[in-house]
Symmetry: C2
Subunit: 469 residues, 2 copies
């Protein structure tokens, strides 16, 4: 399924006069024109674009001036945070200007009673985690890319990640945003009140908007208290059906302390152990499926009791065949290293890697993987892991470069997801990679009104062009 | 502060020819034209409007036909669920047609693995609670009006209520909506996937939109597992400062099992005990402030231990002076009867009742009440209770009808909320009552874009006219 991007003629090329204008409103350290390769390619190195200009504003007012000018001059603009998008969401396509958020990186305030943090959009997720952690709070979001992704990008892409099953989506956790729209106007809604029913909730539109409406410059985020007790168990199952039953059982036994329910199939596990340094197989013998269960709670003793009770009953009812609870931080780290090493291992293994991020009803998720596996046959390898507790699996088709996998899997695979009422993008978004494919998940009417809403904020189509639609 | 509603001339009056059209597309049982008084006044009997026609469709397609016709003919339309709005949000002003959702009341499906219920918008909240309760789940929302309010109305007004501190807003819990917009088009997003990052999240716009964009016809809602152990404690404090400290302490000690932290001041308590039958004072002696704490968990023993530990430490550190844990259902019911009886008691007590529903930073919430109390002086009584754990208080100014309270409190009170960066409507919305006041909470730019977004969906201004703006 080759896609040819339409060449949009509504945008101007960046000229010297434009660069001169930016030099007049920004300090020289906020402008880059040489060697922009780290900005113009995504971190997977799949999408390579081009740009002549990177702007790195340090204030919201600068962002406002930049957007206003780009809007008047019809210059395309790509907001870029940590550039960790897995769908090429922050890559320029036709020499758009890159608006890097890396210099808007101040943590502004923390409300210690409600648990709310205010910060600029360019704060790196891990830095924010450490900051609030010291004060007894946690960020309700954890991602493998936490060391480089930024909170503004997380919000703009509605990032999901590992603890979604417990803390839910950013739609519930983002209490306030400051956003600059192409007119240069600033939509500021940073009061961060837990309850505020005054008119339409515009900030929700920007959560997951992938930068096509405006630029998020500040974020206010609700924080859960940092748990004082955490446990991690690695389990082995013989069938996916048992994985699903173990999920139901874990929800019932662990209730409010369940904070992750992750899944790895044996095909992925094998490649991880081969490719990722310092990973050790945690169980006595190989299994078809693995589960990683995490609990986070406030009372260590009762949490441990609950975990023991769950494990005992899961073994007794034959849902799991083997299981081990991490005894210390180093074992925990090994378990998470396995789970988080998936993508890196698969990228090293395959010459030709096709990556999918879908949502389906939980009971049929792995059946879908098996259907794809059958379709692919000997032409490639199909593996999966992910957030099974949220109905979200990451599936990969690995080729050795000798077979044309594309003809085999596209559009069959997307059609199958559509037929099963799933989503073709659970948490990675549409970006450039899945541009034009949104119709497999959303109706024509829905897409028509998405475009109409985009026109309200970005009538001249300058924001992150060539993405989503 | 008198407000005169603008007379909108863009809408047509309902004529016989219109009624004939509706008779041609709806069964006669879906049309009412006689004695519409239960529909034209809000349940507080504060706002009385008029209407010649109530339509009670039974299918989404009927809703679509109605909206399309009203849009073509420029007929104003007020969606109405349980009509329990406290801001006159569902009252017709100038003979608009009332679209009653009461016949769209089917519960459609339940996903027993993820915990998701699908239903039509007119299902009464309490009926939905009972249905999912039987299957081991709960609705992440509880309101005093649960016996008559409907889930579609709850979503359209982003209802908050008693357990918000635990389960958060409907922005996080609504997984899918079916909505009909004035063009007659149906925006259907009912897959109810926990994760789905495909384009702009339009359904979020309808949560809390108060019926000004379209009509919600179906809802998919995420359900937490029904807790197997619940506890309720009634506490007495000497100062508001101690209430805030008790909140911090409760969050730390009770962690993930804390499911309500409600507050009543002594002024409200006195009136409740006088006015509400079957309420008994739960403590040994009167206090200045009362707290109602609820926990919901999955393990009764450890939950009890946590509550005991919290209470002991709160007494030791002198945060609470007295406290009692409900020993049985009847005592629990008494405690909740006190808390939920507030509005009814105050309405009976006052000749002239002014009702406020504000959000402020938690430490200064009651100081605001005291400032208003000082301003009102002997002209009236000021009382407050509410969801202090969420930064949301319901405040009332009670008059005996002899003093002009309006001049004293308006606009001073809204100006003071604005100055303190709060919200003039935490959970009750804007509706008719606070029409034109949204500027105290939201910026001009924000309001301008709310109106632009409304124009996308309702360009002819037929949906719930005269509300919010």
């Amino acid at each position: 399924m080759k896609k040819f991007f339409r060449c949009f003629s509504h945008l101007q090329e960046v000229k010297d006069s434009h660069i001169s204008f930016f030099r007049s409103i920004l300090p020289s350290t906020s402008i880059e024109t040489e060697d922009l390769s780290t900005y113009t390619s995504d971190w997977l190195k799949v999408h390579k674009g081009s740009s002549k200009l990177v702007l790195k504003p340090t204030t919201t007012d600068q962002v406002s001036e930049i957007l206003k000018y780009c809007n008047l001059e019809r210059l395309g603009l790509v907001p870029q945070s940590g550039n960790t998008s897995q769908v090429g969401g922050a890559v320029p396509v036709q020499n758009e200007i890159i608006l890097s958020m890396k210099n808007l990186n101040k943590i502004l305030d923390l409300d210690d009673i409600q648990g709310i943090v205010w910060c600029e959009a360019g704060v790196i997720l891990e830095n924010l985690m450490k900051f609030v952690g010291k004060k007894g709070w946690m960020i309700p979001l954890d991602l493998g890319s936490k060391g480089s992704c930024m909170i503004g990008g997380n919000v703009a892409t509605n990032a999901g990640g590992l603890r979604y099953i417990r803390y839910g989506s950013l739609n519930g956790n983002v209490l306030g945003l400051e956003v600059v729209i192409p007119s240069g106007e600033i939509l500021s809604d940073l009061k961060a009140l837990r309850k505020d029913n005054t008119g339409l909730n515009l900030k929700q539109l920007f959560i997951g908007s992938e930068g096509i409406l405006g630029v998020i410059t500040k974020v206010a985020l609700l924080l859960p208290p940092k748990p004082s007790s955490m446990q991690l168990a690695f389990l082995g199952c013989t069938s996916y059906e048992k994985v699903v039953k173990a999920l139901t059982s874990a929800k019932a036994s662990l209730g409010e302390i369940l904070s992750a329910f992750e899944f790895i199939d044996s095909q992925t596990m094998e490649i991880i152990l081969k490719r990722i340094p310092r990973t050790r197989y945690p169980l006595a013998s190989p299994h078809n499926f693995y589960i990683l269960i995490e609990t986070s709670g406030s009372h260590s003793e009762s949490d441990k009791e609950k975990m023991e009770h769950f494990l005992e009953s899961a073994v007794e009812s034959n849902l799991i065949t083997d299981g081990v609870v991490a005894q210390d931080t180093s074992q925990s780290e090994n378990f998470w290293r396995i789970r988080e090493g998936g993508l890196l291992a698969l990228r090293q293994e395959a010459v030709d890697l096709h990556q999918f991020d879908f949502s389906l009803r939980i009971p049929e998720m792995y059946n879908f993987v098996e259907v794809v596996r059958e379709k692919v046959g000997n032409a490639g390898k199909v593996t999966a892991y992910g957030h099974v507790g949220d109905g979200n699996l990451h599936m990969y088709v690995l080729g050795d470069g000798k077979n044309n996998l594309e003809n085999l899997i596209y559009p069959f695979l997307y059609e199958e997801i559509e037929r099963r009422n799933g989503s073709i993008s659970a948490e990675h978004g549409i970006g450039l990679f899945k541009q034009g494919l949104i119709g497999y998940t959303k109706s024509e009417t829905n897409i028509k009104y998405m475009k109409a809403v985009k026109d309200v904020f970005d009538p001249r189509g300058i924001m992150n062009p060539f993405k989503i639609f």
